[in-house]
Amino acid sequence: MSGNEAAAEGAMRAGCRFYAGYPITPQNEIIAYMADHLPLRGGVFVQAESELAAINMLYGASAAGVRCMTSSSSPGVSLKQEGISYLAGSELPAVIVNISRAGPGLGDIGPSQGDYFQTTRGGGHGDYRCPALAPSTVQEMAEFTYLAFELADTYRNPVVVQGDGMVGQMMEPVALDHLRPPRPHQKPWALTGAAGRPRNIVRSFRGVKGELEKHNIKLQEKYDEIKRTEVRCVKIACEEADVLVVAYGTCARIAREVIAWPPRRLPGRVGLLRPVTLWPFPCRQIAELAERVRGVLTVEMNAGQMVEDVRLAVEGRCPVHLLRRMGGAVPTAREIADKLVALFG
C-alpha cells in the first residue's frame, strides 16, 4: 500500500474513531482511505469545510475523549496552527499527519522537509511543543501513526507525524498484524456530561492573574519529561564511523543507501544517525558521536533547518556541513557521496 494509506490504516488500528480533513495533494490517499474505511469500523469521518474547521472538529472530538486525527500537507498544516496551539494549551491529545510539500506559499506538490521549523518549534502562537515522528518507509508510516496516538494520550498533547510527499506516495509491502488494538487510556477529564461527577471544563484560557504562568510551567515540565523519555533515533554503522551523516525521512532512506556503498567510493567509514523524533531531538546521541568523528554532514530537503539543531547538539565538537535541495528536489545518492568525498576525502 502507499505510505498515505499505511498512515490511515495505522491510525485505525490505534483506535482512531474520528477523522476530519480537507483535500490537498500529496496526502489525498489518507482522506480517501478514511472516508472509505473509518465509518465501516465504527468511526466518524467528516470532510471539513476548511483546515481550520478540521482541526477544531478534532478539538471537540478529543475533548469528548475520543482518539482523533487529521491530515494535510504544508499549506493546510499552516492553517491548522491556531488549532494546534489551542489543543496544546488545553492539553488535548490529537494526531496531525503532515505529508509536506515544497513552499513557500503555494509552492508545488513535490516532497519537501521545509516544515521542520514549524513542526519542531510548536508552529502556532505561544510556548508549546508537539512530539514529531519522522517516518522514512511505508512500514513506518503505519507504525509511527499508531505510536503517535499512544504518545498523544500518554502526554495529553497533539503529536505530529512528519512525512513528506515521497514517503506518502511511495508503495511498499507493509506488515500490520503487530499493530494490535491498544489498551484504552482513562480520560477522567473528558466531556461526557457531568453525570455522577463534578463538571469538566476543557480550556486554554487562564484569566486569573498568575494562573497562566503556572499553567505554562506545568506544560514545560511535561515537555521536559518528554525530552527525557521519548527521544528516538536509529544509528547505522555509527560505532566505527569516521564521518557522520544526519538525515531523516526521505533523505535518510537515500543516505542509508550511500553508507552501504564500497569504502573506496566514500571518504572512510560513514555512519548514519536518523532522528525518528524530530522533537524531542536526539541531541545527546549526536553529541556523543561528534566527540569522535571528523565531521558531520546534514542532508535535508530544505534550505537548512535541522542543521541548526545538529549544530546546537554538536556544540563545536566537530565541523557541521549541509547538503540541501529545495523546491521539491530530492538529493541523489551520488550527490551525497560526492559531497562526502569533497568534504572529507
Binding site: R17, F18, A20, V44, V46, A48, E49, S50, L52, A53, A54, N56, M57, L58, Y59, G60, A61, S62, A63, A64, V66, C68, E82, G83, Y86, S90, L191, T192, G193, A194, A195, G196, R199, N200, I201, V202, R203, S204, F205, G207
Partner: protein, 260 residues
C-alpha cells in the same frame, strides 16, 4: 384565644439549580445574564444537565462556563460550530450547544456556521446579536446597523464601504437541513418569556434529533452603545428590530420534509 392557621408556602421563582451563584463579569444592563438564566432554566426543566455540553465562544461570553454548572469546552474564535461538530458526532446522545456572539458567529466563524448548518449538525446554536464587538471595546460587527457609530465606524456604518448588516437567520433559512431558526430579544418580561419558549423548542428539537437549530437574541450593550439600559431596550424595540425582525424564521419539525 389565638387562632392558629397553617400557611402553605410554594416556591414560584428561584435560582435555577444549574445556574452557579456567583456575580457575573457582565456590564450592568447587558443581555448575557438574562440569556444565561433562561438557558439554565431550560436545562433544569428538560432534565438534561447531566448530558449537556456547552461550547463557549471568544468574546464577552468567554467565561460562560463560570456561570452554568455543566460540562463545557472552550473554542477558538469563530470555531464553536466545528468543535460542536466533533463533540456531537462522537457523542450523539449528548446535548451540545454553542453560545456565540455576532463577531464570533457571523464574521470570523461564518464559514463554520454555514457549513455546520448545511450539514444539519444536530446541535443548538445560541446567537447573541448586540451589533458590536463588546469585549474588544466596541468595534463594528457584521450585524452593526447602518449609520451606527462604533470604534471602527466613527462616522457611522456606511453600506458603500462596509456593506449592510448580515441577517444570519435569513441567510441560513435556505439550507434544507436547517430545522429551526428564530429571533427574539430580552427587552421586557414578555419578550424574555417568548425567547425562552423559542430556545426551549430548539433544545427539544435536538433531543428529538430533528436537526440544526439556531436562536438569535437581540441583546443590549449599554457600554458600547453609549446608552442607559432602558435606552438600549427602546433602541432594540424601535430601531434594531427593523433590520432584524423578531419571530420564527423557519420551523421544519421532525419528519415533515421526508429528509430524515
Amino acid at each position: 384565644m389565638r387562632e392558629t392557621r397553617t400557611v402553605r408556602c410554594e416556591t414560584l421563582y428561584a435560582r435555577p439549580q444549574c445556574l452557579i451563584d456567583v456575580p457575573t463579569h457582565y456590564c450592568a444592563g447587558c443581555g448575557h445574564g438574562t440569556v444565561h438564566r433562561v438557558l439554565a432554566e431550560i436545562i433544569d426543566e428538560l432534565g438534561i444537565r447531566e448530558r449537556t455540553i456547552g461550547i463557549a465562544p471568544v468574546g464577552c461570553a468567554v467565561l460562560a462556563y463560570d456561570y452554568i454548572d455543566i460540562d463545557w469546552s472552550e473554542a477558538a474564535h469563530g470555531r464553536p460550530p466545528a468543535v460542536a461538530t466533533g463533540l456531537k458526532r462522537v457523542r450523539p446522545d449528548r446535548i451540545v450547544f454553542t453560545y456565540q456572539g455576532d463577531g464570533d458567529l457571523a464574521s470570523i466563524g461564518m464559514a463554520e456556521t454555514i457549513h455546520a448548518a448545511n450539514r444539519g449538525e444536530n446541535i443548538t446554536v445560541i446567537f447573541i446579536n448586540n451589533a458590536v464587538y463588546g469585549m474588544t471595546q466596541g468595534q463594528m460587527a457584521p450585524t452593526t446597523l447602518v449609520g451606527q457609530k462604533t470604534k471602527t465606524t466613527p462616522r457611522g456604518r456606511d453600506p458603500e464601504q462596509d456593506g449592510y448588516p448580515i441577517r444570519v437567520c435569513e441567510l441560513l433559512s435556505g439550507f434544507d437541513r436547517v430545522r429551526f431558526l428564530a429571533r427574539a430579544t430580552v427587552t421586557s418580561a414578555a419578550r424574555v418569556r417568548r425567547m425562552k419558549k423559542l430556545l426551549k423548542k430548539a433544545f427539544r428539537y435536538q433531543i428529538e434529533r430533528v436537526g440544526f437549530s439556531l436562536v438569535e437574541v437581540l441583546s443590549p450593550c449599554p457600554t458600547y452603545w453609549r446608552m442607559t439600559p432602558v435606552e438600549c431596550c427602546e433602541f432594540i424595540e424601535e430601531t434594531m428590530v427593523k433590520s432584524f425582525p423578531l419571530g420564527v424564521i423557519k420551523d421544519v419539525s421532525a419528519g415533515e420534509d421526508g429528509d430524515r
